[in-house]
Subunit: 164 residues, 2 copies
């Protein structure tokens, strides 16, 4: 069923398994690195994993509140800080929003494809492009640390729709 486009969440896939794998991976990684995936942090990650859309911090906050946890912005931002700094989630700069990491298991530089129509976000490895960006920066005398690559456009499913 899943199309043969690697690393692309736009295609049909077993999302339940996708979520479960990610959560298991995160738990394992935390155990290995002696990080504490507390209930709060785990819950925020689960919420991010529910879809491949990016969520604003206040969207997550609303979800937590709907679940009865009294919650305030700093709580969400702190959980997100944890998830982002340990590679379990990413911040999308163009959207001021966050998405679960699709490949937390390997250390990678991500590149994001953001569908302007359905708002899904796919993460692809930057690979050689990242090296090329570093090389270009170096040639300009700049010591690059962290590159952000975010591409807006239309995902496979939304192309041809009259831009709904």
């Amino acid at each position: 069923m899943a199309q043969e486009i690697p690393n692309n969440i736009f295609c049909q896939h077993d999302h339940r398994g996708c979520r479960a794998t990610a959560m298991r991976g995160a738990r394992a990684a935390c155990r290995a690195a002696n990080l504490r995936l507390t209930p709060m942090r785990a819950r925020v990650l689960e919420i991010l994993l529910e879809s491949h859309k990016a969520l604003g911090a206040y969207d997550i906050l609303a979800r937590l509140r709907a679940e009865g946890r009294s919650s305030q912005p700093p709580i969400v931002y702190r959980a997100l800080d944890f998830l982002v700094s340990n590679g379990f989630a990413h911040r999308l700069e163009r959207l001021n929003a966050f998405a679960a990491c699709a490949h937390a298991e390997d250390r990678h530089q991500p590149m994001f494809l953001i569908c302007e129509s359905c708002h899904q976000v796919a993460e692809a490895p930057l690979d050689r492009l990242g090296q090329d960006i570093f090389a270009r920066a170096t040639k300009l005398g700049f010591q690059a640390r962290s590159p952000v690559v975010e591409v807006s456009g239309l995902c496979p499913a939304c192309q041809g729709d009259g831009e709904q």
Copy 2:
């Protein structure tokens, strides 16, 4: 005096001339394209051109107010919208800030080098990297429209400073 690193504003350069050229270019481009570079828009562009740092909308607002123009956020945002959509300025997504365009004369895809120490922002042409990003997106079935590439790091002058 200016080093031989092309398209790089980090090196010493005649900034007065840099500014004047950019303003002249913008005026000419507006005349050619029948766009109105009104006093307000021109002033905002001048403010952006005063340095190669990115300015937040509210920094610009404060400048305008200091000059006696009564001004409110929408005025600044509208001027910035004009400048950005016509290629005279860019928005830096990572910084929620704006910088004058260094190469408004040619239509290009920009890449930004952001110094974490002195906060100067250099704009380099994305060139082939942009095409590579498009190609990668296409291979994943994604129809790319606008790529954002922003690299944080250290500019030539700030490397070796113990990170001040």
